[in-house]
């Protein structure tokens, strides 16, 4: 069932498109050699080009172009072998040249598509309109001085990819799934770290509402939303506002709005009348950007395996269910971890441990997969101890917790704590005998038909054996004694 918001006049559909600004991972800026590392001292990573000194000229950074092409390829998009840079003119203190170099009419990447999966398992194709390269602006700091603003140009000139979706999204959930998927793809490609906290990925959200079957109504743009959660909240808040306007007989005006997370509302930033006239024109300092098809093909050949393909492979190669495969490929690091554990072992068994015990431990300890206290090799060894019967599954959980705490190898923990599984039938026989002797009443009940008590006996025997009994042997011996 498609998502709608109920107003006084009935259900409304949402139409959503996203413009994502993704900071390109590159050592140097888009048109200068200055560094791009996050967190440098203010104005420590600024060249004369970035500061737009007289006579300074931009020269395109080949690596940024390669990153845009890789991203385009990863989004199944057409790569334009010729694109162009334009100037977007406006005055602001953190825009040194008085214009931003961007690609307005001829972007480097054209139409593409991204596949999203929703909670109910539905899969949707979301169109990408275009991807273009542009410069980031600097940062204005208004809270450093009572009357003055401070300007930090470290970010000025850093390469951004603006990735524009078609208005194909129909719910906050879809928008969230789209953003997460896009972020995953960018991270796999190594073209953007997708870090929304540090501002290296930001979204402008275009929202409109309509009654079922109608053409599009006027949209508003909610600018600069900086987390997936806020994007989803902003969409709902803006849609509800527009519905109210329409239902009160008003007209939604095309305008730019800001989302205020604290109040859960959007507010007007500027309307169409006082919108900037950016006076775009081709940047005469730069020639059209022409790509060699062979270079593009070489980049294509070097692309890593992307999440969709990896998911299919995990399902085929390791026999994982779609859900498990999806969870594992969401982050490249999780997928790599899983593969390191699963290689040469039983795939589903490995997946259960990674998704279950490992993820729980990471959550609990506040670690990430990259900083996991248990290396994939160690987890693999633990699984081997279970597989070869050295320990049983129950004990394995304890050993794993010990590994999280101590970082010790599983075999050492097993040896130190003497946790080897007991397969000596004599020991099991004697434990069974004493449990049954101590619970004569339960034995009588069992024999009179209360077969559920079998589990109780297993538990008692295992307890008597400090959990180390081989479960299969314990079962066999119990069954024989109770027969």
């Amino acid at each position: 069932m498609s998502y709608t918001i109920d107003g006084k006049t009935g259900p409304w559909e949402l139409v959503i498109g996203l413009e994502v600004h993704a900071q390109v991972i590159s050592r140097a800026k888009l048109f200068s050699g200055a560094a791009t590392v996050f967190g440098g001292a203010p104005n420590s990573q600024v060249s004369f080009i970035d500061a737009a000194f007289p006579g300074m000229l931009p020269v395109i950074n080949r690596e940024c172009v390669a990153q845009a092409v890789r991203t385009g390829l990863g989004l199944n998009a057409e790569i334009h072998l010729e694109s162009r840079f334009d100037r977007k003119n406006y005055f602001y203190a953190d825009l040194p040249a008085g214009y931003q170099i961007s690609q307005y009419q001829h972007p480097i990447v054209g139409r593409g598509v991204i596949e999203i999966e929703l909670a109910d398992g539905e899969v949707r194709q979301i169109g990408i309109t275009r991807l273009h390269l542009e410069q980031d602006a600097g940062k204005s700091l208004h809270d450093q001085h009572p009357t003055k603003s401070y300007i930090d140009l470290n970010r000025a000139g850093v390469a951004l990819m603006e990735i524009v979706s078609e208005p194909d999204l129909r719910s906050p959930e879809e928008a969230g799934a789209y953003l997460r998927k896009l972020r995953t793809v960018l991270r796999y490609l190594g073209t953007c770290d997708g870090n929304m906290d540090e501002g290296s990925m930001r979204a402008d959200v275009n929202v409109s509402v309509r009654k079922s079957g109608e053409p599009f109504r006027t949209r508003c743009e909610v600018k600069n939303v900086n987390s997936v959660r806020f994007v989803m909240q902003a969409i709902e808040a803006e849609a509800r506002r527009q519905i109210a306007v329409w239902e009160e007989g008003g007209t939604v005006l095309q305008e730019t709005r800001l989302f205020e997370p604290a109040r859960g509302i959007t507010r007007s930033m500027r309307n169409k009348e006082d919108a900037h006239d950016y006076r775009y024109f081709p940047d005469p300092d730069l020639l059209p950007l022409k790509l060699d098809p062979a270079w593009v093909e070489a980049l294509r050949a070097d692309l890593p395996e992307l999440p969709d393909a990896k998911k299919q492979r995990f399902m085929a190669e390791y026999g994982l269910p779609a859900y498990d495969a999806g969870v594992l490929v969401a982050e490249q690091a999780s997928a790599d971890y899983f593969e390191a554990v699963a290689r040469g072992r039983e795939g589903r068994f490995a997946a259960n441990w990674v998704i279950g015990d490992l993820f729980a431990a990471l959550n609990r300890t506040g670690r990430t997969i990259e900083t996991s206290p248990v290396a994939p090799g160690a987890l693999g060894e633990l699984l081997d101890l279970v597989a070869d019967g050295t320990i049983n599954g129950r004990i394995a959980k304890d050993v794993f917790e010990d590994m999280v705490e101590s970082g010790e190898a599983p075999a050492e923990i097993v040896a130190r704590k003497n946790l080897r599984q007991v397969t000596d039938t004599g020991a099991i026989e004697s434990a069974v005998a004493s449990v049954l002797a101590a619970n004569a009443d339960k034995v009588a009940e069992y024999k009179s038909g209360k077969e559920k008590l079998f589990g109780f006996f297993v538990g008692q025997v295992m307890k008597a054996m400090a959990g180390k009994g081989n479960p299969a042997l314990v079962n066999d011996v119990l069954r024989r004694h109770l027969a």
């Binding site: 007289p54 006579g55 020269v59 395109i60 005055f91 008085g98 300007i151 006076r279 005469p284």
Partner: protein, 492 residues
């Protein structure tokens, strides 16, 4: 002969043969500047000490039998080239005290070849003008005067300070920049030679931008050969300028000596439009006769979009300028006028920092790029620019170089043509088409008008064929035997 009267080529020879030292040559020019600059206002900054030190370096290198192609040659540098540690103003209040922490590629190349910089020359503010009247540092006076009349004439623009300094023997040669005629028209007005090379031949890195798709650096000197020598040291690929051409620099000086027998010289019908004065028409006719006598074949050509060139130029150039000059906002460098908020800071800074002509062009440029006007002006101008380029491409199917006048008149008096900017813009009518097409074009002094003022002829060549341009210009120079001297000059 005085040291200041030497050609660059002769001075180079004299230095090599130790007839005089670079120090002596430089001192002679500094003395000439001292004597005449108060009258001419050709230099806005004179770098006595740096010049002396550079001359001593050159003398040491020459003594070792070393030294680059221009070792010890005193040059004047248009104040649009950023020079590290030396104030660079673009003749604007907004950059009045700007000292660049970097060197333009062209001046860096000149320094590397041993040249001595005497100082920075005056120009129209941000190179916008054809009279040098728009400089924030005052007008430059043309060293030439109308027979017996001491009234100050303009040297042309925008490279007026460079042209005047070379003509008055304050420098052996100078750098200029040309956007729509800013080297060629002042060269013609001051009786010297000046070439705008093919767009992309010289790096624009470190040259304060006026209109990026048109701006080109070039040499100005008293002979065609001197221009060729100087261009050889200025030109070359620069990875710091994306529009610079990655191709070898030929031996331009050698090209001057090439014969032109059998060469086809195009004469564009459209340049003989009504309104061309009799003396310009006559000069042009003499030029044709000289080239015919040198063995060239004269062919009529048609450049049908010539009439649209000027309006096209006055859309494209201001459009780019309006954007290029946005960086002068008082925030990071240059002049700042405080204001209550950011908008006030911008308004106060730019109102105080820019002169009228610059403001006018920023307004025009902003207008032609605005929503609703872009298609009618900027886009259409770009289309006509393509047609103008095509005109030249077609013409060069039937000719090897094109001969035209450089400017419609000789130098005019300071204050003349100031009432209506359009009259002033008409000065560029013959120079602008080659600028829009990015073609190499030289102005050579070819004669005097009835009042004794110099007139120039222009030779336009195919892209990157400066060699043919130099060869043809050299023949005009030889035939014209231009030997008249300006009233104001060193030693006069």
């Amino acid at each position: 002969m005085s040291l200041t009267d030497l050609t660059l080529a002769r001075a180079r020879e004299g230095l090599r043969k130790k007839e005089f030292s670079a120090r002596e040559l430089t001192e002679a020019h500094l003395a000439a500047i001292e004597a005449l600059n108060p009258q001419l206002n050709a230099f806005v900054t004179v770098t006595h000490e740096l010049a002396g030190a550079a001359a001593d370096d050159a003398d040491r290198a020459l003594a070792r039998g070393e030294g680059g192609a221009l070792a010890g040659i005193p040059l004047a540098i248009k104040d649009l080239f950023c020079t590290e540690g030396v104030r660079t103003t673009a003749a604007s209040r907004i950059l009045e005290n700007f000292v660049p922490p970097y060197e333009s590629t062209v001046t860096a190349k000149l320094k590397a070849s041993g040249a001595v910089f005497l100082g920075k020359t005056n120009l129209d503010e941000f190179a916008m003008g054809s009279s040098n009247m728009t400089s924030a540092f005052g007008a430059v006076t043309n060293p030439w005067q109308r027979g017996g009349d001491p009234a100050a004439l303009v040297p042309g623009g925008s490279s007026g300070g460079s042209a005047a300094s070379v003509a008055a023997r304050l420098a052996l040669a100078a750098t200029g920049t040309d956007t729509g005629g800013s080297i060629r028209q002042p060269a013609a007005f001051c009786g010297i030679a000046g070439i705008k090379p093919t767009y992309g031949r010289c790096s624009r890195y470190g040259i304060i931008a006026f209109a990026s798709s048109l701006d080109q650096a070039g040499p100005m000197a008293r002979t065609v050969e001197d221009c060729a020598i100087l261009l050889g040291a200025m030109a070359g690929f620069d990875p710091k300028d994306s529009t610079s051409a990655d191709r070898p620099v030929p031996d331009f000086a050698a090209a001057c000596g090439r014969g032109i027998s059998g060469l086809r010289i195009g004469v564009p019908l459209e340049y003989a439009a009504p309104g061309v004065s009799g003396e310009i028409a006559a000069l042009w006719e003499r030029g044709r006769a000289w080239l015919r006598a040198a063995g060239a074949e004269l062919v009529e050509i048609s450049l049908p979009h010539t009439k649209q060139a000027l309006p096209t130029y006055y859309i494209v150039a201001p459009a780019e300028a309006s954007s290029n000059l946005a960086r002068y906002d008082g925030v990071r460098f240059g002049r700042r006028e405080e204001g209550g908020d950011l908008t006030e800071l911008y308004e106060a800074t730019r109102a105080a920092g820019f002169g009228d002509e610059v403001k006018r062009r920023i307004l025009i440029g902003t207008y032609v790029l605005s929503a609703g006007y872009y298609d009618a002006y900027y886009l259409r101008a770009q289309k006509i620019r393509t047609l103008i380029l095509r005109d030249f491409q077609r013409a060069f199917e039937t000719c090897d170089a094109i001969l035209t006048p450089t400017a419609p008149t000789a130098a005019f008096a300071q204050g003349e043509k100031m009432d209506d900017p359009v009259t002033m813009y008409l000065n560029d009518i013959y120079t602008v088409p080659a600028s829009l097409a990015g073609l190499p074009a030289i102005s050579v002094p070819a004669g005097l008008d009835p009042e004794g003022l110099p007139l120039g002829l222009q030779v336009i060549g195919r892209p990157f064929d400066e060699e043919t341009v130099f060869a043809v210009a050299d023949k005009i120079e030889k035939a014209a035997g231009f030997s008249a001297l300006p009233a104001l000059r060193a030693g006069a």
